[in-house]
Symmetry: C3
Subunit: 273 residues, 3 copies
């Protein structure tokens, strides 16, 4: 029989004791659990970026318990929840939208529980570290087989806080997309399926003009991969999540173009002369 899996995503960073303490709390309750750290470097309090990282990773994870904590409202009235998705995963975290987009990718939410007052909580619940005191012990109990309805109070999934991802839109013949990720390489991730490029007639081999936040327009090649352009040259491509991405071969698109999380890109076709 395979060991239960718990994945973790937080904005705690790795410098302090927070992530290690969550691991410790989990392994005290469920010593057999296998832990996978997705990322702990979500920008502090950035619920949308946390949601994006879950969307880009969760379907590659073993089916298990998926703990996510980006929780600017810790200690307030926001609920702690455990959600069962159609594909059999359990998502555990704050009810602030963080879990919402990935739950849809998992086929939607079948059952939802408010675990704010769960009997699984640690004896002393602090006002500021619910990852340790609520989320980790609830996740560990689920991983070790405790039924959800003994860990929380059933609630209507329709009552959960939602989070809408920015949608790409067509405007004056331009595809307008929002930057929802800048990775460590400086690659720019836009919230748009790469197939959206068809709407402006752009295919691999074409060039497009990209304008960021109303700045000057840059001409960029649509390519399949980094190595399709020269070192130092920019490219627009379908990234590993199937999204539209702007990159520089062996360089940083973020630095080259001064693009940051949340920026707006306008992409339009370049007519060959």
């Amino acid at each position: 029989v395979e060991p239960p899996v718990i994945t973790l995503l937080t904005d705690y960073g790795l410098a302090d004791e927070y992530v290690g303490v969550c691991h410790g709390v989990i392994l005290r309750i469920c010593p057999a659990a296998r832990l996978i750290d997705i990322s702990h470097a979500v920008p502090h309090h950035d619920v949308q970026r946390g949601a994006v990282l879950l969307m880009r990773s969760l379907l590659f994870m073993p089916v298990g318990v998926h703990l996510a904590v980006v929780d600017p409202g810790v200690g307030s009235e926001r609920r702690a929840v455990a959600l069962q998705t159609a594909d059999g995963r359990i998502l555990v975290g704050p009810d602030n939208g963080l879990l919402w987009p990935v739950a849809r990718l998992c086929g939607g939410i079948e059952l939802a529980y408010d675990v704010s007052e769960s009997p699984a909580r640690l004896e002393h619940v602090s006002m500021t570290f619910h990852g340790r005191d609520i989320f980790a012990p609830v996740a560990a109990q689920i991983a070790c087989g405790e039924p959800l309805d003994s860990l929380g109070v059933g609630i209507d999934p329709a009552q959960l806080t939602t989070l809408d991802m920015p949608e790409p839109r067509l405007e004056d013949g331009e595809l307008v997309v929002r930057v929802v990720g800048v990775d460590e390489f400086g690659n720019i991730e836009a919230a748009a399926d790469a197939r959206e490029l068809i709407r402006i007639g752009a295919a691999v081999g074409d060039s497009v003009a990209i304008e960021c936040n109303g700045g000057p327009s840059t001409r960029v090649r649509v390519a399949r991969t980094f190595a399709d352009v020269r070192a130092g040259e920019a490219l627009l491509h379908e990234d590993s999540a199937g999204w539209i991405a702007l990159a520089v071969n062996r360089g940083s698109a973020a630095r080259r173009f001064g693009i940051e999380l949340g920026d707006i890109l306008r992409i339009k076709p370049v007519v060959s002369e």
Copy 2:
């Protein structure tokens, strides 16, 4: 039967091979061990900060072997030790005070061994990487059941190097505390139990004036949690370790007030007019 647990805390950082090598050395000796990384981002050579992180985390860990290496004296005459605490944990690390404060939290030291010349050491012991060559193999042997007295030479716990944490003190009606932590969110951790605030008559809902390193005084609310104040507003609160902490809701107190590790805070009550 549950797998043995080894926790690790070092100042090695995660960029180089050092932490991975310690994991490798441990798993070669004790393949069943479960490893929990508490933190590897202790500021280089900062024994006190390492001790603080152990104090804030260890009681949440499964009882096991607890390896800690912040070791500016590596290669010198300082001893390598393994300590058995009253609550059944084994602490392994350099005898430079790093393990001292947390050992007291664990009920005190019952047995102490000098493992500097342990038969568990790797065949070649380098002059600069005792984490790999002494501490990791000793911890792994203990985790796999080797008795302590076969791994080192018994010593009197009274001979160990001690480390006193800075104590809060009352001075001219002010509570004077030292900053022993600045976490990644910019929260300021003071070396003082939150109950010390009673000594200056400050309770949740009150305001206090805080002065840092003789700079100007700032008025701050005593609150239960971040969400009790507006975004961007400062608060003094009991943090998740039960200590006095200074924070800014959805912001960084370190940046706001220019506070660094080692600074002195003077806290006094504000008389309402």
Copy 3:
């Protein structure tokens, strides 16, 4: 029976989802695998630094599958390979020289397979994330017992891309070495066995003069360990890998001397007066 071990080294960093996704892909295929992260902070696209970290770490790892991805040519014609070494390890990664130097330390390559089109690949192979789509699933299948010849096509090891480490050389009575590592402490790692110092007659206790990139010469003591010199003083020593290293006791040699990865150091003996 011991669980199979997979070690990982990449230039992905820990901020994004990439490393976690590789862990997830591996554990879906081989749930029993033990994962050891050597480092994920190789400077982006720096194949030589990746090779150096493998050389400094791999022999301390349990014998297993060793995944390494520093892959500026991802999506191009470069091959994906799995290599069996004389000491029974399997190295998996791109055929760009990354695995070459460590394979020699492991006794040389006995069998080599091109796994670019491996049946182990994920169903959809992206153009930019072969760590997830090719290398991780191939490594996981090997770890779980799948024979190499069912996972790829045998190739002649002599066809593999090689990578030569910079060799120390003697020039005008000076030992000339290249900096191949600057660790988080600011210690400078030179690509030279510490025994090379004999060639210029320098032994522990002597002083040497070091010149970096044609800058001014600095006099430094040859010592056994940091604690042999005063705090803040520089030393040249044999580091934990047996290499020549330049360090500052409780300080950073990189900052003190302004030395960076790739710099050239010229070391010459200082004649006592």
